[in-house]
Every structure is written in C-alpha cells, then in structure tokens.
Symmetry: D2
Subunit: 328 residues, 4 copies
C-alpha cells in the first residue's frame, strides 16, 4: 500500500559536491508536481535540530541547476549523533507534519538517516552525494565526475608550465580512503605515476619509473598523490624522491578545496536530476530506508543497511595496468 | 591460439569526436609496450587507399591526450565502398606487413571494417568514436560526454541573456537520427521543452507548455531541438510557434560544429584510454571483428555484426518524464 | 558645491553584457557605503515608466559579481523616446525622491539619459556597457573582453574539427556597425581572413588568400565574418566563395547569442567594479551628464554630449596588417 | 639608416607565461614575411650557450597560438651572467650569422639582453612576458590577464564550497614583490580582504573587517594573500587570525603553479601577437636595446635601460579603496 505522505523535507549533509543543487531542484519540483508540500532544511542535520526548515516552491529552485555548492548549505553535526539531538529534530519535523525526509550526502549522512528513520519511523531516502565515489550501490556518486574534470583542467595547466621548464610535479588530490579520484585523474591526465591509499607503491619503483621517463626523453613528469597515501602527503613524498632522484626541478601542488566547487558537469546535472526525481517517486510508492543509485544506465534501490556495510569502490584492474602502460 | 600479430595500424574515420586522440595514444603505446610496430593511417580509409601510413612511436603520441579532434585526421571515403578501393587498401597493408587494423568511428566506419576484415582476413577491431552515442554494445561512445558538456556550457551562456531579456530561445543541437544528445542536454540545462527525432511532439502541446511557463512567471524559456526533428530545424519550429505564441521575444541558435570540438572531458579521456588499451590487448589475445565497448563499469566485446544490426540507444523513460516534471 | 543627493537608482538598458552585475554591485555598495539609499530599476527605462523600482541593500547584490546577464534585466523601450513616457518616468522618480540616476548601456541608453537629464534636471551618469566596444571615451566597454574570450573558445573548438577534416569555416560574430570584435577575434584565433563592416574586402582577394593557404599546406582555414559585412552574412559569403574555390569542404557557423553570456572575465569584473564605483563617487562630488570610462589605466569622465557625437572605435592599423602577416 | 638584418633568433626566458607561444608565432611569421631567416633558441639563454638553436619556418609555429607554456621552453641560466657564458653564446650566434635577437621574459631576462647587446653589438629587442605585470613601459605584461582569469575561476569554485559551509578561506596567489595580481584578483573575486607585499595591513584591522562580515551576515569570507606578504604565507596568517577570530571554519589554499598555465585569454593572444609583430618590425627599422610595450591602446618603445631602472607597477588607489568599499 502506498503511504500517505504529504510533506517532504530535503537536506544536504557532509562535504558539498557539485550537482547537489540540481538534485535539490529535482526533489522539490518532483514533490510539487505530485501535489506535496516541500521543505528545505538548512545546514544539514543541524537545521533539523535548530528548526531551520523553510517551505519551498517551484521558484525556490529556479536557476540553481548549474551552480556548484548547495543552496541548503551543509555542515557536520555532532549533536545529531546524540539521542537528545535526534529527539529535537524529530519534534521539529512532527510539528510541521513532515513525514518524508530525503538526505543527500555520503556514508556519515546515511548512518544518521538510518538511525533516525529506524527510531522514529520517518520515511527516509538517501541520495549519494560526495565527490569521493566511494558508496556501494551506485556506479557514480554525485559530484565525482565534475571533480575529475576540475582536477584534470588544473593538471593540464600545470603540464604547460612543467613542460616549459622540464619539471617533475607532485600533485595531491582528494581521496583519504579511496584512490578512485587519484587513479582516474592519473589516467585522464597522462600522469607518469600515481600513489594510492589502497596500494603500496615503493619509492624505489616510483624512482625507476621516473628514470625511464628521462631515458625516453620525457620533458616533464607528473605524479598524482592521493591525500590518503601511506607515505604522507605530496610534500613528504616529493622530499623523499628528491633525495634520490634529482634530474628535474621538483615542485608540489596541493589542489585543495577548489576540487569541490564549480558548475556541475552534464553528467552530474543529469545524475543529480535522475536521483532526486527517483528518490521522491520511490518514496511516494512506499520505499523507505533506501538509497537511490545509478547502475549501468538504470536507477536502482539499495537498502541503506547494505549500502553502509558493503565495501564500495574497487580499483579497476585495467586502469591500474594502464597507469604503467600508457605513460611510457 | 594467439595470433602472431607484429604490425598494427590505427585510423579514425567518420566525424571527429573528442577523446579520439586519447584513444590513438592508448592504442599506439599499448602496442609498443607489447613489442609491436605501430602505424597511423591518415584521413581514415582514404589514407589506406592512398598509402598514407606512417610509423608511430611512443613520442608520436605525446601531449595529445587532452586535445580535441584527431591527429590522424578523418574523412568520409566513398572509394573504400568499392572493391577496387578495398583492393588498393589491402595491397598497401600487405606491403607493410600490417596484420592488425584498429578503426575508431561510428557505424559507417564499422561497416567498412567488417567487409574489409571478412574479405581479406585482416584482424580488425572497432572502437566506438562518435558524439552521437548511438551504437549498440557500449553505454557510451567516445566524445558524447564532452559534447554534452560543451552544449550545456553554451546553453548556460544563452540562459544569461535569455533571462536578462525575457526571451524564448530555440537551440538546435546535433543528432540527426538519435535524440540522445537533445534529451540529455535538455535535462542538464533545465530546458522547458525538447523536440526529438524519435518522438512526435505536437506544436499544440509545446505551446501549452510554454504558456504554463508564462503563468508560473518563468523569465525565459529554452527549447532544445534535435537537428533531425520532424518539424524541420529550429528556424522552422520557431516560426511556427511564433505565429501562435508571441509572449516572449523569440530567438534561434544553431550550435553547429563547435559541438564536435574541445578538450575531452575526464570521462572521455578515460573511456578513450580504456577502449584503446583493450582493443590492442584483445586483438593480441586473438579477438577480431569485434567492437570494444563500456557496459556498466566494464569493457566488453560485441561482434561487429551484432553492433551493426541491433538497435542502439533507446530514449530513457525517466529522462523523458523529467523533461516535463522538472521544468515546472 | 557638492549636490545633496540622497537617493540613487541604477538601471541596465540595451543589450545585456557580461560585467553588468559586477557594475550594479559596485554602484549599490558604493552608494550604501556613503549612506545613500539605493534603488534598482527593472527592465531599463521600461521599469522607470512602469514604476518597477525596488530598494536595494548590500545583500541584494551578494553573489552576483561573477554572473553573466543582469539581475535588473534589460529591454529596449520605445515609450521612453516619447515625452509622455519620460514624464511618467520622472513622476515615479520624484515620488520616491530619487535624485540620481545611473544608467549602464550603449549609445541608445546614453541618448535617452541625456535627454532625460536635460529635461528634468535629474543627476545622470552613464556607464559604457556593451560587448561592441564602440563608445568614444573608454578604451574598453563592459562585456567586450568577455565576449572576445567566449568567441575564441568557440573558434578553438571549431578549429579542432576543421583541422581533422581539412575544412574551410566561415564564422559569423557580432558587430553590426563595428568590426572591433571581428578584427580582435580574428587575430586572437589565428583566422586566415576577416571581413569587416568598415572595410571593403574583395571576394577575389579573399580567394587569393585562401589559395595561398592551400599552397603553404594549411590543413584548414577559418574566415571571421562580422555580421554587418557588406557581402551579407556568413552564409552568403560562403556560397559566393564556394562557387569559385572548392578546395576544402566548406562550413558555416553563426555564433549568435552565446556571445553575450557567460561569467565575466577578470578584466570585465574589474572594469565593471571600477566604473560603478567611480560613477557614484563622481556623482556625489557633483558630476552629472557624464560617462565614466577607462583610458589607459585611469578612470576618466567624458560628457555624454561628446561621447555621443565623436566617432568611436577606429580599426587599429597594426591589427589589420597582422591579419595578413601572421596567418601565412 | 636601416640595418641589414638577415637572421633573427627568438627565445623565452624566466618563468613561462600564457601568450608566449602567440608571441613566438608572431615573431617568426613577421620575420619570414619580411624575407628573414628565423631561428628558435631552446631553454632561453642556456640554449644560446649550448648552441641549441633551430631554424623555424611558418609551419613550425602552426597551431600554437592557443597553447599555454612555451614551445621554446625556458630556464633560468646562471652561466649567462658570466663573461664566459656570454662569449659562448655570441660565438654560436656569429657562427649562424644571427644578427638580431628577440627575448621574451621579465626583468632578469632584460638585464641579460642588455648586457649582451652592449657587449657584442647584437641587435636586441625585449618583449615583456611575465604573469607578474611588474615592468615599466607596458600597461600589461604578457600572461598577466590569463593568470587573473585562471585565479578567479579557481576562487569562484572555492567560493561555492566556502558558502556551503560558512567558511573563511585564505587563498595565496603569486606575486613576490608586486601585489598587482593579488589586488586585481581580490577586486575581481569580491574578496573580503587582501594582503599585499607593498602595504602593511595590521592583523587587527583584518580581524575587524572579518567581524563586520559576520555582523552583516556574510555566509563566507575570502582573504587573498600575496605570496610576498610580510606576515608570511597564507598558512601563517591563517594561524594568527584563527587564534583571535574563530567564527568560521578556516581553510587555506595555495594556488601554486596552475596560475602559470592554461590557454591564453583573448587579451594575451592579441597582446602577444602585437608585441611580437612590433618587435620584429621595429628591429628591421633600426631599433635595438628597446622593449616593446602596450600603453593605452598603442604599442610604444621604451629603452631597456629605462624599463629596468624605473619603478614599475603602482597599486591603483581606486582599487585599494574598492577592496574596502565593495565587500561590505
């Protein structure tokens, strides 16, 4: 039987990701299309607790599809991990008769949503929004594709100056636990090597690889370093390499927070729109405690339980092999 | 048993697409990595016939990963459809002892490759390279993702001026037989309506939709028109609409050939690299008369026969529905 | 003696141009900084007549610096050319006690402002905002620099596909009366030729030039056509050329309205900010009936009278010469 | 009397800058147009010493106009500061009968050129190519405009995430001795404050400014820090501020070498083309020991002596004032 949901709230939580606004727009307009009252919660779970919940109409989400960041803002919220915080949040929802909650974020966000849904029986749907692409149940998370484009555009610029000066660059990209961004951007930028959190690369092998580049007359070399790499950040690695290999002038760039921003790519706008559209439709058909995700070219549901307990991204074997073969 | 292939040639044929250079680089370097001699054929099949075939080494494909177009150039070639043309092409390959041929292009390209491979027993592999995303056996063709990004960046710019002037814009995008580009860019740009070659949309419905936008106080409206639309191009449709609906100042933009160019997106660079890498590896393991494609997150083979005879892209139901629901 | 101005309104009129929002922000915040009440007029002079005038504070112009278009919208307004329209406009300003009016636009905008200022004694300042760069008294008009960047990015993309196919492209850019955009983008994109409204170029000479390119083995050729060219638009010229020169496959692209949009360049953001800042400061010091402009690296005033009656942009001799010399 | 120059060499030296390739193209093609033999020197002065000097024709500089970096590469060269190094360089030029030398770079480059020209009577022309915009005699140096655009695009992205999280960002940009880049990008990005090498800003004032932003409900704040600032780099300043002002979550980004790269803006392509064109033309008319520069909209000569001894860029008063007024 379909639930009788009348009022739905949406929030973004955790790190912001490009495409979140496209997704918020889709959630709000799909709800309105079905005659529901829609609400936006500011600053993620903090706004639930602080009762910072605002009514939204179709015009509230005009002209946001193409903007980076999130108009609902986001925050990490310790208070929501406590019973007292959850209680306040529930009280606020109840007061406004909100019976559906859609959360956009990563696994921290889903953990909160799952506990909250279980405890209070609120209908809850999760949408994978994080640039890290590290959630089980969706081939891609919202924001990841844009982040890859942002990073390779930065590396293309750095390659210009690296080539002009015969330099070796160490470039640190995001991905504390997952090497997905590092591996993909290494392939996409033609990097000479990549250091990943999941994989031990000996400094010795790295130096051998760089020396091969010298022998084959490469005019510059670029090494992508995932921030979670075992040898420390890009600065530490650069220092260690420099001690033993000093053919090039060595430079370091930490790309930092610009990786999170920017107008979402077509891929992320479409993904955000599809996921937001599906999350509302599925909720109205009775789904709860589920994550919507993209698998192949189809939108599929995965229970939050499963999404949270399965290991997510596995480094693709062909991509790993390619980082060696294609940079000869 | 693995074939004893020593010399491999690669060509691009049909319309050019961003990511072709990334793919050429992957083909050449993967071959060299395995100790093969690699050749580039200029201007597609025309170069095979004219014996415009040049040896390539690892440095021949340096610094091309990020460039649009194709360094091997491309052309449509009627002569290769004739027996005489094919005969010349084979003679040239034989002379150079080239026993493997990798072609990057669309269905016209594959038709030629298949006939050629069958007739002369040359090992042939196909790589789907076309912005149209209309080939069976691969969720995405090379260049499509970049084209979508290029188009939505152009539409974002047009939206600026449309909003500032309360205008109605008709924007024509590529896709003579397939509405894939039009449908996806319509969702990604928040277009108010889209006209597709696969689907009859009555002008009456379109005008109703536009009037709704006026009622809900939209300050501008954008209609995406696929070049293959039944009502003719964007100019004809704009004229027909204007006769019956004249609320806004009406403008037309034909995006044209800029849709084909530009530095490939991360997605297309990775896709081109994976497909080129796989095409060589599979050929060396014995595959022939196959297309390499991406399905889900994996590289899969499809025989050229099947790829050419199956209907390819089907408009996604949720995307079609979304063009109505999300632009309220 | 300094005038006692308390309430200032700002409007944008004519074609929109990137950087107008940066300029509106500067006007509003500079006024507020000096303790004035600030107002925005919607849709240019039409909003003056329709009394669509809204109070603005510092937050009204938050997060607009980087956006294309104009948040105040713009329109062409015939009614303001009539005495009756002006009378209504003045009545509305008087009612709100607005004693200063700042207009951002081109020469049509300034003509209206000048008549209005003279007739009613309202303090009026003009800011040159148009992508055409055709106003006397400012080396650059707001939006022109961004438009050049937008156009060359489009041409770079077209060059990719032109090179890949050995094609001849005719690309039509904006500039009905002034060849400034065409000449500059021709130099900046390395076009083989350019057709300008100010200058007769014989088709014969154009064809000679294109043939030279064939002789020197150019793989593609690009001709920039200003929309105001004497031979008609790019389509007509392409047709005429094709009749007598058919070495390449010939294509035409009309860039159209995407030339007006997009996030303003650094140059236009700074220019818009400086001009808006200066317009308010100068008005408060007593200036009226003046245009603020950039000359060299300094902000200078020119009376609207002079700005409107002097011939503006003159094609630079060295740039004209360079279109011949540098494309050999 | 015009000198009888037959062979001209061009080199790039110091840090690379976008637009150098456009300039090299203009130098080479202008020389060829006048019937001269043209040469490119690799790696700046080092290539003069090492006799790494290659003949160039019109096709050598095809398709480089739009590329960042420099195809001639660049390096800092200590050896050229010694008499012995200069002697070798001259010997190599003499051997090839090169009687004109055009150098593209900053003041270090010009110092070398001037000494070399004086000592050996070689005809020498300088072109200002550095992103720092710190040379007397030209309103703009080559690469500066592109660098500003690159930086503000990065800051726009960071603003997305700063706004979403209510954060305070310190962003370090290039400019060890000159605050030109920092000041301009601060205005162009709407930064809340800027720290410049030329100007003492007390931490106390900075904190007052940031607190005002909190009071006026700014959702994020961005402080631009020039790398040459007296308080140390962005990290040090962030730490000092954090100790006394902890309203926002504080983050730091060092933009680093991506500021040097990227496809040149229209402005820099035109500037590079004009300067290269003028340098050759003026040399052929007899000029030597001069720098070509842009003043207003005209190309002017300044003797290298004067260019090297005059103080260059002075922070514009209106821009300084605007950083306070416009970010309220």
């Amino acid at each position: 039987m379909e639930p009788n949901i009348r009022n739905i709230a949406v929030l973004t939580s955790g790190g912001d990701a490009p495409g979140m606004n496209a997704c918020i727009r889709a959630v709000v307009r799909t709800g309105i299309y079905h005659g529901k009252n829609m609400f936006g919660v500011m600053q993620g779970y903090q706004g639930l607790i602080n009762n910072h919940i605002i009514p939204m109409n179709a015009r509230s989400v005009s002209n946001i599809l193409h903007l980076g960041g999130t108009i609902l803002k986001t925050a990490r919220c310790l208070e929501f991990k406590e019973d007292e915080g959850m209680e306040k949040a529930f009280k606020n929802l109840k007061e406004k008769e909100i019976d559906g909650l859609i959360v956009i974020g990563g696994d921290g966000t889903f953990t909160g949503a799952q506990r909250f849904g279980k405890k209070y029986g609120v209908n809850v749907m999760g949408i994978p929004g994080t640039i890290d692409n590290d959630l089980y149940g969706s081939d891609f998370t919202l924001g990841y594709d844009t982040a890859v484009n942002t990073i390779i555009e930065a590396i293309d610029k750095i390659r210009d100056t690296a080539d002009s000066h015969d330099r070796l660059f160490f470039i640190e990209v995001m991905g504390r636990d997952s090497g997905c961004i590092a591996l993909r951007t290494a392939v996409a930028s033609g990097a000479e090597a990549v250091l990943l959190p999941e994989k031990e690369t000996s400094l010795k092998d790295l130096i051998i690889k760089l020396k091969e580049g010298v022998n084959t007359k490469k005019s510059s070399s670029i090494v992508i370093v995932s921030e979670g790499n075992k040898y420390g950040g890009a600065w530490d690695i650069a220092k260690s390499v420099k001690r033993k290999f000093n053919h090039y002038d060595t430079k370091v760039t930490i790309l930092g927070h610009l990786q999170r921003g920017g107008s979402p790519s077509g891929f992320d706008r479409i993904l955000g729109s599809r996921l937001g559209f599906a999350a509302v439709n599925e909720m109205l058909k009775g789904a709860t405690m589920q994550m919507v995700g993209l698998r192949g070219n189809e939108i599929k549901l995965t229970s939050l339980d499963v999404a949270l307990h399965m290991h997510s991204y596995k480094l693709e074997d062909d991509l790993l092999e390619m980082t060696k073969v294609l940079s000869i």
